[in-house]
């Protein structure tokens, strides 16, 4: 698996480069919004990847609660952190798109507000893991993650349930999209998903290494105490 990582990293970098080229130069310019519409290729792909990572976090948290697997706990930690990075990009690129299109940076629209709530839930998850010294921290974090996941379908379906300024989805929203735009969108979706999963894998390995070092340090200090007696 370790040998596969550099190969996958190079393949993902090439795919991301291709996706960026497609998004900036190949996709046709949208008629009403103009060039700024191209933000959509990064914004939506980042939102999808954040959702995917939070879903991995949910599955890993359930596995941890049922079987108390340390690997599942490490994966939950890794996917939450990388998910927060992608969610941050969604919250940054969204207002940059909204300013020229809506004339405002932010509005307390249901989709936007729920996305901010989702980000806050996972930031609090990371803060809990960072600052809680309790032995029950992984359990509390797993429970928080399961409740946090409930916000994901709310974010997605909010544009159907509530009146909103946010654009309708690319598919199933009643609108239509140019097939060349759709192709570029899927290229970016795949590229960002691969990138997100690869970074999550790297973060998972880092978490495993961190735990190994902590365990060795704890063992060493225990041995030092015993030898000093």
């Amino acid at each position: 698996m370790k040998r596969a990582f550099p190969i996958l990293a190079i393949a993902t970098a090439v795919l991301l480069g291709y996706a960026t080229y497609q998004a900036l130069w190949v996709a046709p310019t949208e008629q009403t919004m103009g060039e700024v519409q191209r933000i959509f290729y990064y914004h939506v792909s980042s939102a999808w990847t954040a959702g995917l990572l939070f879903f991995i976090n949910f599955v890993a948290s359930v596995v941890y609660l049922v079987w108390r697997s340390p690997k599942a706990d490490a994966l939950a930690m890794a996917s939450a952190e990388v998910g927060v990075v992608f969610c941050t990009i969604v919250l940054v690129t969204g207002p940059i798109w909204a300013r020229p299109v809506w004339g405002i940076w932010w509005t307390w629209d249901m989709r936007l507000t729920l996305t901010l709530v989702l980000w806050l839930i996972y930031v609090s998850y990371l803060l809990l893991r960072r600052f809680s010294a309790s032995g029950q921290t992984p359990v509390m974090a797993a429970v928080l993650a399961i409740f946090g996941t409930l916000d994901i379908p709310l974010v997605y379906f909010s544009i159907w349930f509530f009146r909103t300024q946010h654009p309708q989805p690319v598919m199933g929203g009643g609108g239509s999209i140019d097939h060349r735009m759709l192709r570029v969108f899927f290229v970016n979706l795949i590229a960002f998903s691969c990138f997100g999963l690869l970074v999550c894998w790297a973060r998972y390995r880092l978490e495993v290494l961190h735990r190994e070092v902590e365990e060795t340090q704890a063992l060493e200090s225990l041995l030092e105490v015993r030898s000093s007696r």
């Binding site: 060039e35 933000i39 990388v82 990009i89 880092l206 290494l209 961190h210």
Partner: protein
């Protein structure tokens, strides 16, 4: 156009900053592990 550039720049600044933090943490942990194994 400036908004488009700002969005793309922001995206990659965030990603590069995060990847940089991962590399820093990995380097520090490897160093710690080596120190522990040398004791």
């Amino acid at each position: 156009m400036s908004y488009l550039i700002a969005a793309y720049l922001a995206t990659w600044v965030i990603h590069v900053a995060y990847l940089g933090s991962l590399v820093r943490r990995y380097t520090r942990l490897r160093k710690q592990r080596e120190e522990l194994s040398n004791r």
